[in-house]
Symmetry: C2
Subunit: 470 residues, 2 copies
Amino acid sequence: MSHPVDDAVSAVRTYIEQHRAAFLDDLVDWLRIPSVSAQPDHATDVRRSADWLAARLQETGFPTAEVWPTPGAPAVFAEWPSGDPQAPTVLVYGHHDVQPAAREDGWSSEPFEPVVRENRLYARGAADDKGQVFFHTLGVRAHLAATGRTAPAVNLKLLIEGEEESGSPHFRALVEEHAARLTADAVIVSDTGMWSEDTPTVCTGMRGLAECEIRLHGPGQDIHSGSFGGAVPNPATAVARLVAALHDEHARVAIPGFYDGVIELTDRERELFAELPFDEGQWLRTAKSRATHGEAGHTTLERIWARPTAEVNGIGGGYQGPGSKTIIPASAMVKLSFRLVAGQDPDHVEKAVRAWAAEQVPEGIRCEIAFGPATRPCLTPLDHPALRSVVRAMGRAFDAPVRFTREGGSGPAADLQEVLDAPVLFLGISVPSDGWHAPDEKVELDLLLKGVETTAHLWGDLAEYWRHAP
Amino acid sequence: MSHPVDDAVSAVRTYIEQHRAAFLDDLVDWLRIPSVSAQPDHATDVRRSADWLAARLQETGFPTAEVWPTPGAPAVFAEWPSGDPQAPTVLVYGHHDVQPAAREDGWSSEPFEPVVRENRLYARGAADDKGQVFFHTLGVRAHLAATGRTAPAVNLKLLIEGEEESGSPHFRALVEEHAARLTADAVIVSDTGMWSEDTPTVCTGMRGLAECEIRLHGPGQDIHSGSFGGAVPNPATAVARLVAALHDEHARVAIPGFYDGVIELTDRERELFAELPFDEGQWLRTAKSRATHGEAGHTTLERIWARPTAEVNGIGGGYQGPGSKTIIPASAMVKLSFRLVAGQDPDHVEKAVRAWAAEQVPEGIRCEIAFGPATRPCLTPLDHPALRSVVRAMGRAFDAPVRFTREGGSGPAADLQEVLDAPVLFLGISVPSDGWHAPDEKVELDLLLKGVETTAHLWGDLAEYWRHAP
C-alpha cells in the first residue's frame, strides 16, 4: 500500500510531465508580447498581454477572468470558487508587465523571442514575472488532476497587475475599488525568489519604505563665497550636517523615535538566518562594494532583511559642473529613504523625521520637507498556519528542507496586506542568477516546474490546515 | 603766502576741471566697445579695446604702450620712466575686459551706449574696471601739470589685462613671461572699491583661495537601496559626514593644521574694523541671508575679511531629479573652497586637507581629491610707507579721513605680489551701489574724478616718502 503523500507527489508529477510541453508553448506565446509598462509605445502590448492572460485563465478553468482597467495599464482578475463553504480564500498576486529590454543592451538573443538554452528559458519576463504567474495555471490543473476535484480546494483568486515595473501607481486605488471582490484569508505573492537552486526558501517579510526630500534654503540666491564666505549659514553645509546626524557612531539611525515599535528578531530567527549558506565575499561582489558597513550588533543578512535603515538616495546643491564656482549656494537638498520593518508605522516615522530635521537646522536656514507615499512593511510570523502550508508544499516539490529568508526591498504586497487585512505570504521560485531587469533574463525550467508542483500541493494543504488555525 | 599742499590740491583740481569733459568723452568711447572676454563672439571687441587703450595711453604721454598677446585675450602694457634714477617703480593693475551685459537683463538703457543720469555714468565697465583704469590717464597728466614735471615722479607702469572677468587664465603666465619688464617696488591695484561715498577707504588685503573637488566612490554602480541598504557604505552619506567634520562647534575649520601660520588681527586692526559704520541688517540684505553665522569670537567684518574659511560651493551625488529613486549612489562629490589669509600657505593647506580627508573616509569608500590652482592671500601692513602715501593722497582728494578695509574675495593681484615679490596696494573708488556684474552698472562721476585727483597726488608723495622707507 502506497503512502498517500507519495501518491499525491507522483500524481502531480505525472500530470505535469504530460502537460509540460503545451504549458511551455503557451508561456512562450505570452513572453512574445512586449508588455513594457514604462514605455508609452508599448501600451497596446500591455493591454494585449492582459487580454491574452484573461483568455488563458478562462481556458484553464477559471469561471471568472476579467480585465480590470486602471488610469494606466490594465490588471487581470480571475476567480475560481471552491464550492466548499468552509474553504479559505487565497488571493495570488503577480504582474504581467515587464521591464524594458532591447537586444543592444547586451542580450544574447532577442528579448521578446524566447529561446531555450541548456534547460533555461531566456526572455524578458521569464522570471519577473510572467513565468511565476504562469506556473499557477498548470499548478491548479495538476491539483485538480491529482485530487480528482473539479474545483480547487480553496477559493482561488488571482490579481495580476500591469504596472508593477512602473511603480504600481494605480494599484492601491484598484485594490481599494475592488476590495469587496478581493477579500481573502491570505495573499500569496509570486514575485520574489529563493536563496538558490539548491536551497529552496520562503520569504517571510518585506521591508516598508518611507521617502522624503529635504530642501534647505539659505541666501535668496547664490552669493559670492569671497564676499560673504565664513559669515552666513551655507545650506550645503547644513544639509551635510543634517545627513551626518542621521546615524550615530554605531551606524544606528539617530532620529529620536525612529525605532519605536520595531519588532526585534527572535533568537530563532537569527539562528535561521545564520544557517543560510551566506558567502559575504560573493554578496559584496553582487553589491559591487568594497566593504560591509551597518548597524552594530547585526549581521549583513539581518541588516538588509530585518533592520530599518536611513539611506541617502541623492544629495545636491550649488555648482556641480566642471571646474569651480565660488558661491554659497541658495539651497541644497537631500533625498532620503527609510526602509521600515514590521512594527514601524510610516506616519510615526514621518513625524519623527520632521521633528528631528527641525531640531537640526541652524538659524538662518529654512527647511522644507516633502514625503512621498509610504509602503508598509510586511512580515509573516514563522508559526502562521498558511506559512506552514507553503513550506510543506514546497518541501514536497523540492524534496528538500525549506529555509526562510526575507526581502530587503518593498513592494505593493503591503497594499494588499493593509487594504484586505490579510497576511501576505511569498511563493517565488526565481534564483539570483535569473537576471531581473538585466539582459538575458531567464527562468530555470526545472524550477519553474517546481513552482507548478508547489501550487499543486499548496491549495489542498492550505484548505486542510487553515481551518485548524488558531 | 599760500600753503604748498593747498596749492597742489587746487592746481590739480583746476587741471581736472579743465580736462574733465574730454576725459569723459574718451571714457565713453572706450565703454562703447563691448569687450566681453567670456563671450567668444566678442573676441574682436576685446582686441579692439586693447588697441584703443594702447593708443590712448600713447596720447597721454606714455613713451611705451604695447598690446601683449596671450593665448586668450590681449593685455596692455605701458611704461613712463621718471628719469630720476632714485625714483621708485610702481605698477598699476587693472583690466579692460568686462562682464557680459544685455538690455534684457534689466538694464534701463543699452549697456554699451553710455549715458549720464544724475551725475552717474551708466555703462557696462563704468566701474569694473574701465573707469578705474581710465582715471590713471588724467591723473598722471594732472600730476605733471600741478608739479611742472615732464615725466612722472615715479617710474610708472600699467598692466591692464583682458581676461579678468574670465578668471585670468593666462595672467600668471603673462606676468612670469614679462617679469623682467614688470619689476616694481609696489603694485597698485585699481579694481576694488571703497566703503561708501561718505567713507573713503583703502583696502589693505585680499584673501587667498584654495579649491578642491573631493569625490567619494562607493559601489561600482548605483545599487538598490532595498536589496543592499543598511549593509554597505553609502558615498553620499560619507561625503556629508566629511563636510560635517569640516567645522567644529565654534564654526572653526576643524582640519588639523589649517590655521598654521595665520597672521591674527592686531587689536588696532580690530578697532579700525569696528570703527567702520557697519550696519549688519543692511549687510544681511546684501547677502540675501536671514542670519549671520561664523567663527566664534569674531565680528562679521573680521569673518569676511580677515579669517580663513571653508565653504561648500557644490555638493552632489545620486538621484536629484523629481520624485524618488531608491538607490545607493556609486559616488558623491563636494566642491570646497578655502579662503586663506596672510600667513597661510596654499600648499600646506592642500596637504592638510588631503590628510584630513583620508582620515575621515570610512572603510570601503575610495577618496579622490583634485585641487585647482590656488591664489595666495595678500596683506599690506598698516605702517607700510607706500600705504601711507596712498592714504595721504586719498585724504587730500576726498578732504576726509581715510579708513581701512580688506577684501574677502581673491584676485590676480596675488600673482603680481608673488611673481614680482612686491607689496600690493589697492586704490579703488567704486562704491557698493555701482552694480558690478549687475544691470545698470555705473560709476559716480564725482568719485571717478576723486580717483583722478588721488593719483595726481600719489606719484609725488610715493616718490618722496618711499626713499625714506625702512
